[in-house]
């Protein structure tokens, strides 16, 4: 399972970075989404994977008697996903608006802020 996750994380990061380096605005968003998902999976993986042992203390016990899944990375990932959703949806709306105003998807043409005045 770990090996599979590592490969997926690697692919997501590679794909995300590749998309970020493209010239189209739309592909930048795709890249950011891929990168965000890669980061979330990374946290999940680095929180150690434990199969079939939820962090719930069994009936009649006071403490955990065996190894259990760490709930914190899950909470962190959940929060990160929600925040990521918000930011990405803002970015998508922004791109739609930019496309409407400037009528281009090519980042190389977005250079008026770097010209004088």
């Amino acid at each position: 399972m770990e090996v599979l996750l590592i490969i997926i994380i690697g692919l997501l990061h590679a794909g995300g970075l590749y998309m970020l380096l493209r010239r189209s605005m739309f592909k930048i968003i795709i890249g950011l989404i891929l990168l965000g998902n890669g980061a979330n999976l990374l946290i999940f993986l680095l929180g150690r994977l434990v199969k079939g042992h939820p962090p719930v203390i069994e009936n009649g016990m006071k403490v955990f008697k065996e190894i259990y899944a760490d709930p914190l990375p899950q909470a962190v990932v959940l929060t990160a996903i929600v925040i990521g959703f918000g930011l990405q949806s803002f970015a998508i709306i922004l791109i739609k608006k930019v496309f409407k105003v400037l009528e281009t998807d090519d980042l190389d043409e977005l250079n008026s802020t770097d010209e004088e005045i």
């Binding site: 970020l20 950011l32 946290i43 993986l45 680095l46 929180g47 970015a91 608006k97 004088e116």
Partner: protein, 507 residues
Amino acid sequence: MNNILVIVPILFQLFAGTILLFFWNKIQIQKSLSIIFSVVALVLGIWLFKLTWNEGIQFTHAGSWETPFGISFVSDLLSATLVLVASIAGLAVSLFSVGTMRKERLKFGFFPIVHFLIMGLCGAFLAGDMFNLYVWFEVVIISSFVLLTLGGTKSQLEGAIKYVSLNLLASSLFLIGIGFVYGLTGSLNFADVAIKLSAISNRGLVNVTAGIFLVAFGIKSAIFPMYFWLPASYHTPPPAVSAIFGGLLTKLGVYALIRTFTLMFGGDEFLGVMLSIIAALTILSGGLGSLLQKNLSKAFGYLIICHIGFMIAGLGMFTEVAILGTVFYLIHDIIVKTNLFMVSGLVLKINGTQDISKLGGMYKNYPVISLLLTVPLFSLVGIPPLSGFWPKIFLIQGGLATKEYFLIAFIVLGSFLTLWVVAKIWAEVFWKNGENLPVKAYGLYFNQMTRSNQMMVIIPIILLSAVSLYIGFAAEQIYVLSEKIAHDLMNPQEYIETILGIKTTLP
């Protein structure tokens, strides 16, 4: 000391922003309420600062969970100082936007979002937990996205694309860094992580994690190879928004760098050298970039980058004196940069343009205002005894102590470039005879505004100039404060023991 009231400055801004939302269409009420709320926030900032100064580190753990399980909010002296300085800048920006912002922009919830932005800043300064810091960063950037695009002109949208995409990239990297830290230590609390990281024998892994944080915070604070979004976006929104961005947002990145690189990754030789090189190049590229600009706001944008370099330089030297310089510079810089963008806004209001080559005759037409504007401009350069002078002394002292002479050379060069830029601006904008300026398409000129609105534009500049003068002339007090902060940062023992409530020994 365990004190739940630490979070009051954050909650108050949340309250302020929410109340303002109820007056969506009543701009006049929003204006007055925003000023009142900002004054109260300033009082709260002073209260928190005094409390922290008198009684040491204040902290609280969410839900009374023991550390490191509960999310901590910590107000040590650095955090409390920054909350105070941010609330001063917030008050000034609130006043300034009442005076300058056009109604069409205010109608889309400008004031609530400013308060949410400052809430995010206070939260980030007070966070004692890495993931909590991340969440506050996101609160700040989503507010800043909205402020940047409010109004939706062509140049704003273009600048926003660059700003948004790079900030999202930085957030992803920050998250990856958090993943690494959790994988290495199994904790996210700053104090807990600091202990556990210092015990890890594989320093390579720790340094890679530090590198990821350096890139993530570096993008946000606009250090050398990652600053291109700043000059492309900071001059596009209205001056009131630029002021809050220029004063506070990049400094948040610097704060995060100071916090992580003193508490968690401090004292590593490789990182020190890397930070020094980055600092030198940041100073150089910011200074030279500023010289070339013909737009006032863009020139100031490059100066932000230049002066970020000074703060990173102190971090790179990593001695108590150098950190003292960094902290002192941070306090001075928040005030003076906020003021600077308000100055450029005032110049825009008076003349209708920010093109340096076309501007002129300010001194002839507005002698009193021009004399007022000398305070922020000369504080920026650091002409003694104004505020920019003192931190540079400590930075150079730190450089002499660590024998980093090349860094001293760059700091001197950076000051010289700043002087050159300011002298150029002074000669062109204030002394030269103005050409026929293009007629402004919309909005009122300064002399067409009502008397009370004119005062609303001038008062925040006077306020921040007074603070700058205070920092300059009462430098001893700020020195004592910065020295104490630097001492705490370099000896994090007390911080860690207070938060965790245990005795430890750091290697």
